[in-house]
Symmetry: C2
Subunit: 501 residues, 2 copies
């Protein structure tokens, strides 16, 4: 093999991976948006066969040889190709110990599981989902060993979403966080000062909410020629290419805030994908670099910006225009307090910023036990309810609002949830750093998001997967990740809202 041949092959294999992942995305998106209900079988077979094409591209012998060759000629590669080879090697290492048959079967299992979960949630029927979850957990345990048999299985899984993340780090992080959040919640409870958010629970016509989505996406600077919005049971962002991103939301007629913050959250994800440099298109360096960094962007928009008083004041006239009767007599400050009302609740995606991470901790504790084999699938609903009681003091009246509420496990994502908490904490540190360069909240007050987006592009988005997450983080912030920024942010924000001493 000559170097030229190797470089041609490197490009070719990445483009093929791209095309097969593109197909997988189109099929998955279709499945959760417009596909008829009873169509899982045909989809599952198709996805299985396509994954049989994808598998050898990432982890086959030929790719292995190519990567060996490129490693030997590392010094002759330009930085872009060198990083492509490194990233492909990382994916190769994660996958190549897994037998192809298992890979294909897992892909088919996830297809089925998502359909089953969807219906199980609708019908509050955990028993229907349990056998699928059981197989997913089993597969994840095996995969953990394929990824790195020296690591604790759950550490290996965590690393898929945030490189090198460990339970040890998370235990420390969550423990610190809890020591901040729990006393704050207690002070709020003691204070007994009740925020009125009853006006949020009225009839908000879906058509008006759709208009609000369009308004928010435009305001945040999303180019609609490259990003559409759809409607699904569980909001998400999907990127086909850096020029083709989709977000979804779920409208609740009785509560416009739910979709509003989904749209802002997913817009944060979308802006990341839309901002990735052109030079990474159709390579393994395209897209966001890790789920932790990805969630930092979504949570930055959702919380740091979207739940700020400046933002609420900015969009308030539009909200009044869309919902004049519903918001009669409500002030911008009232709305700001309402969207930040801290109150233990059942549903993660609806939780306020302060209790949110407690929801994550519940899932984290359960996942640890799940993977360690310390809790059977049958025990999960009870364990869920017990942990919710312990961390949040609330009890789910059913599994739909309990253990079945999130789509992640049905999609095979065990070890993903901590990214949300980590992302929230990253976001606070990014904000701290951004404020040294920009009058962020003045810009928000003026509705000028261009400079904010340009800053995020320059420091984070445009790099795609070029820098590993920790390096990207350090280059951006000038220091390593430090959760204290997040805790300071929470203390300050909730101290002001609830006038705590």
């Amino acid at each position: 093999m000559t170097l030229d041949e190797a470089l041609y092959q490197l490009k070719d294999v990445q483009q093929k991976i791209y095309a097969l992942q593109y197909a997988g995305s189109a099929i998955s998106l279709d499945a959760v948006t417009v596909a008829p209900r009873d169509t899982a079988e045909g989809r599952s077979l198709a996805q299985g066969i396509l994954s049989g094409y994808l598998y050898p591209l990432i982890s086959g012998e030929e790719t292995g040889k190519l990567l060996d060759f490129l490693a030997e000629h590392k010094d002759e590669l330009d930085p872009l190709r060198a990083r492509q080879a490194e990233e492909l090697k990382r994916q190769y290492d994660e996958l190549h110990r897994m037998p192809e048959q298992e890979y294909v079967e897992y892909s088919m299992l996830l297809n089925d599981a998502q359909t089953v979960w969807h219906r199980a949630k609708e019908e509050d029927d955990y028993a229907a989902f349990a056998p699928y979850l059981s197989r997913i957990i089993e597969a994840n345990r095996k995969q953990a060993a394929y990824i790195d048999e020296k690591k604790a299985p759950y550490d290996a899984l965590l690393g898929q979403y945030e490189r090198d993340l460990t339970m040890e780090q998370l235990d420390g992080f969550f423990s610190e966080l809890r020591q901040t959040i729990v006393p704050l919640l207690e002070k709020i409870r003691e204070k007994g000062q009740v925020v009125d958010d009853s006006f949020l629970r009225q009839d908000f016509p879906i058509e008006k909410q759709r208009e609000l989505s369009d308004y928010l996406m435009a305001l945040l600077g999303i180019d609609r020629a490259h990003c559409t919005i759809g409607e699904t049971e569980h909001p998400f962002t999907m990127n086909f290419t850096k020029n083709d991103v989709r977000i979804t939301t779920k409208y609740d007629r009785g509560n416009f805030i739910s979709s509003m913050y989904s749209v802002i959250h997913e817009s944060g994800h979308a802006l990341y994908e839309l901002g990735v440099g052109d030079e990474y298109q159709y390579t393994v360096l395209s897209g966001g670099v890790s789920m932790g960094i990805h969630e930092s962007q979504s949570r930055f928009f959702e919380n740091m910006l979207g739940r700020s008083e400046a933002f609420i004041r900015l969009i308030f006239p539009k909200l009044k225009e869309l919902f004049p009767k519903q918001l009669a007599g409500v002030s911008a400050r009232d709305l700001y307090l309402a969207v930040n009302k801290s109150e233990p609740s059942l549903i993660r995606t609806e939780a306020d910023e302060l209790t949110y991470c407690l929801h994550i901790m519940v899932r984290y504790e359960i996942e640890k036990k799940m993977i360690a084999g310390e809790a059977s699938v049958q025990e999960l609903p009870a364990l869920w309810n017990q942990k919710m009681k312990e961390y949040l003091g609330v009890e789910a009246p059913n599994d739909r609002e309990g253990v079945l509420q999130d789509s992640h496990w049905s999609g095979g994502a065990i070890g993903y949830f901590p990214s949300y908490a980590l992302g929230s904490a990253y976001a606070a540190q990014f904000m701290h750093r951004m404020e040294q360069d920009l009058p962020v909240y003045d810009l928000v007050a003026r509705g000028d998001f261009r400079k904010i987006n340009a800053w995020l592009d320059e420091h984070i988005h445009r790099y795609g997967c070029f820098y590993p997450p920790a390096e990207l983080f350090k280059r951006c912030c000038g220091e390593e990740f430090d959760p204290r920024y997040y805790m300071d942010y929470l203390k300050k924000k909730y101290g002001e809202i609830y006038r705590l001493s």
Copy 2:
């Protein structure tokens, strides 16, 4: 190779073809429904690469060897496998002379062309589409030679949509048809009896039209757990599997009839796909057998049933319920006359039954010249207008309502249009045959479509591609195709409507 190995390979290659076609469908469907506007580049690359996987499955050396082996062992195959091998061989023969690179480039060209056509139509900008159409024509000419260089190129193209169909047959068919239609239209004009259809042009809220679509699909017996409806610029039916079919429509707020007949037409296609036998799933025998037979099903539902007086009387109460003000003072007979009003017009998909085939003839004449190299792409708009004037006596005020109106050419389908006329004529003969077994219009009047669907299933749908179209036709009707049934139908129907002597 042993026979067992060959049979395993036959199954495997068909499943892989299935999976790649499934992916292609998902991507195409996404492209015309929810994808953001400026996303053609990434889609085109992905489709090109996927077609590079599909090509060798259908026409590669290994498939060639397999087919040779199976041909040698023909007598040892069960009928199902024998037909699979035959059908795959037919596809192999059509494709294998075409170089892979051309196949991939053509797939990418069509992706781009569809995006460009869509915008060109919107903006009435034929010049933007012309270079793409030029390349598509060039590619079709080459393909015609790959398919069968002994045939006239346009004959080879026609055969892709209706096996062995020739210009000679079509010239005869269209000439007979014209000799029936033109005098009928003249008589109608002479009669001077004007049907009032002004009530069709009012404001019909889209939400109510959506309700009508749901009602019609339920009425016609479409199982919604296996078939959804979407909205696109150009209505179509797409089948992923026999259990997963999608139809689309286009709502015009100023005219509910337009979408209503699209829904009935596409439902006819969908019922065909949904009725194909389980034994053909994931093989090359799945789906409808030819476009002529497919259009016979759609046109059967749209015209033979949907534009019958019995059907109009059946759905009239529902229409009155949905559009009480708009249909105030209108009787079922008025509506029946209005939806059958014969009047030369610009848009094929909105044309009445009598003038419809003239629209097809215009396209047929143009395609013949296009492929024979007797008309340049630049000349097509003028040629279109000239032929429309000649056949229908109308002139398109712009290319949007002229040469740009249909999506077919942008999708590479040259030689497809005649299927519509042929399908209409097939439908009349099927109806003649069905009426010997069933009191069809009595069943329609009672809203009982089960027996009609069962008849179509038994004689047509369930066979998928098992019988070649001509054989299927003869098995169903007991005789060969004879266009006189269609002409008799038109004469009788329009004679009654316009009280012609």
